[in-house]
Symmetry: C2
Subunit: 233 residues, 2 copies
């Protein structure tokens, strides 16, 4: 591996990003990685100090995070990382299920190139390999790639952006339950079936398979959170 390409698309390190953008990414990372756990609060000044910039760009980042639905800005208490309850996850998964099922249908309808299909198959392969070697984190990463690719192939940028946003809201809960849930055997099977349906241009089947896949995942996640009595995170 070359020395930290850190890439992002362009090869030349012309990545002049604004402080506001850096703040946005840094704060979001802290939240998604759970370094800033649900419920924690961060004052503008604290964040600014931590990130080595003034309050202004931090403030702008917080505004964006609030619109993303991951934090809440409380007038005198800085931003507060929103706890996500089982009920919240129910909401998120209901919408994700609807949108991703539609995405699967769209992909099957419009068809995919050989490379695109291979991309999906590769992701499924990685999931199977990770699962075979009990690498749950690897499985989760490959699973995420699969869903991401599927939605991208639907070719609807708005759909893609919304799904990304919701996935981020669900991210912490998914990580939390990754080792508490049954092994995702069925999940891999679902994905393989979906790939077949897409290859066969069977919109009907693609929608149904992915709908049920997502619905199952949602039920599992919400059930787990409920049964563990998680009122938050």
């Amino acid at each position: 591996m070359p020395l930290t390409p850190k890439d992002g698309g362009s090869h030349f390190e012309q990545d002049r990003v604004s402080s506001a953008e850096r703040a946005y990414r840094a704060l979001k990372d802290l939240i998604l990685s759970n370094e800033l756990p649900a419920g924690s609060q961060l004052l503008e000044q604290e964040a600014a100090l931590r990130l080595g910039m003034s309050r202004t760009p931090v403030r702008e980042a917080m505004i964006r995070l609030e619109q993303d639905g991951v934090v809440e800005i409380r007038p005198r208490h800085g931003m507060r990382v929103l706890p996500v309850s089982a009920a919240d996850m129910r909401e998120v998964y209901d919408v994700l299920t609807s949108l991703e099922a539609t995405a699967a249908e769209m992909v099957a309808r419009k068809g995919v190139t050989a490379e695109e299909l291979q991309g999906l198959k590769d992701a499924v392969g990685e999931m199977e390999a990770a699962l075979a070697s009990d690498n749950l984190d690897g499985w989760a990463a490959a699973d995420h790639r699969f869903h991401e690719l599927l939605v991208k192939l639907a070719g609807n940028q708005r759909l893609q952006q919304i799904v990304t946003q919701l996935s981020e809201q669900a991210h912490r809960a998914r990580m939390l339950t990754l080792r508490l849930r049954p092994k995702p055997i069925g999940s891999n099977r679902d994905h393989a079936m979906l790939v077949d349906a897409i290859a066969a241009r069977d919109e009907e089947a693609a929608r149904r398979i992915h709908y049920e896949h997502r619905a199952k995942a949602g039920d599992m996640l919400v059930g787990l959170l409920d049964s563990l009595g998680f009122k938050q995170l």
Copy 2:
């Protein structure tokens, strides 16, 4: 009608809203009402002057509008009201169709109270009355209320918020085509059928009816924009 209650929920005019919030609402109003047409640009300073405040709150408002997908911030040119093409409307309607169909299904599944059902029926009634008296704007307003209420009854706040955002993106195009499209007779019929399906708790029918309703509306809108050669707005 009473003298401009302009309400908003509370009766006492304790509406202390921040300048940033005022800027956000004012700018969004200007855009949705087409006073700032698609493609127009507005510098931070100009907007600040116009709204009687400094650049800071205006800047924050613009950031929110950008995340809403209605403007684009171009580093030296202020914000630019995003033109919406037929392709954009295709995207918006595909997502709306998916989500609203799901909402209809959810509402039918969970059932509604007598008052809630009446609310839907009232909206349908208003649409019919408006149509009978050739009041297209009234019809559009009632139609909007119907869809809004339906989604609200689904009881999923994330779904509701996303649908609202997408509806706003489609708003200008809908207004533009309101008088160019055939009379929305079928639309009223669809809504009446949906209300029946909801009352009968028939999820299946509710989803199908509303799916097709939205799909038809989307096709009509996109087709109209296409045929009129609208590359933007």
